[in-house]
Amino acid sequence: MSRYRVAVHIVPRRGILDPQGKAVADALHSLGFAGVRDVRVGRHLVIDADAPEPGAAERAVRDMCAKLLANPVTEDFEIATVEHA
C-alpha cells in the first residue's frame, strides 16, 4: 500500500444555470476582463488515500464522486491529478 493524493474538480454541468459563475463573470467584466465568456464555480477536493497503485486510488475517488462527492443530476467531475502523498 502507498499513499496517494488525488485531486478532483467538480463543476456544475453546462446548460444548468450557475448563478455564482454568472456573478463572478459579471464582476470580471466590470474589472475590465472583457474576454471572459463563461465562468463556472465548483469545488476542488484533495483526498489522501491508501491504495496499492495510482490507478486504484483514482478508481476509488471516481467511485466516491459517483456515490457522494458529485450530484449526478447537476454536476460533472474530473480527476485533476494523482500523486504520491
Binding site: P12, I16, L17, P19, Q20, A23, L68, L69, N71, V73, T74
Partner: protein
Amino acid sequence: MKFGIVRFPGSNSDEDAFLAVTDVLAQEAVWLWHKDHELRGADVIILPGGFSYGDYLRAGAIARFSPIMREVVAHADRGGPVIGICNGFQIACEAGLLPGALLRNASLQFVSELSRVRVETSETRFSNQYERGQILRLPIAHGEGRYTADEATLDRLEQNGQVVFRYVNAAGEVDTTADPNGSSRGIAGIVNERGNVLGLMPHPERAAEAVVGSADGVALFESVLANVGV
C-alpha cells in the same frame, strides 16, 4: 395515525412539524433520531426543514447516508408515505426518493417570505383535501430551492401529474417574477411516480394556524390522514 419526525443535527423545523401534527391535527408523533435504526411504528415520515449536517458538500448530501435514512427509504419502497419539507425535499432528492435536485437560488439570496403556491392536482395522497387551482399562502425560507431536472424528467413529471405545487403571482399565474428561486417551470413541490413521497420547498407545518399568518398547510396533513391505507 402515527407520524415519525426525523431529527438530523441541524434540523430546525422539527418542532414546528411536531406541533402541527400533535396540536393542530391531534395525531400521535414520535421523534426519530438520525442515528436510529427503526421507525418506532410511524405510519408517515416527515423529513423536516433545516440545515442537516450544516449542508456540507451539498444540501442533504450527508443526511442521506445517516442510519435512519436507510429505514426511511425502505418505508418508501414499501409504499409508506414520506413528506420532505425544504431541507427534507433536498434530502429526498439526494436519496433518490424523488427525481431532480435543488440548487442555489438563482438570485444567490436566501429567501424568507410568505409565498403563493397553486395546487396543481388534488389527486395525490398529500393534496386530496385541496381543490385543484387553489392558491395557498405558505412560508418559504431557503437558499437552495431552485428545482432542477432535465427536460425529459420535467415532461414526465407533468404528464404523470406529479407536479403538486407551483409558485404563482397574485393573479394565480406562473411567471418568472413569482418564482422566488428560479425553479424549472415554477415547481415548488412534486411527488414520486408511485405517489407516496412528497417533496416541497414551502413549509406547510409553519402555516398550520391562522395566528401565525396562514393555516393553508393544514389540509396537506389532513390529506394524508384521509388517504392512508388507500
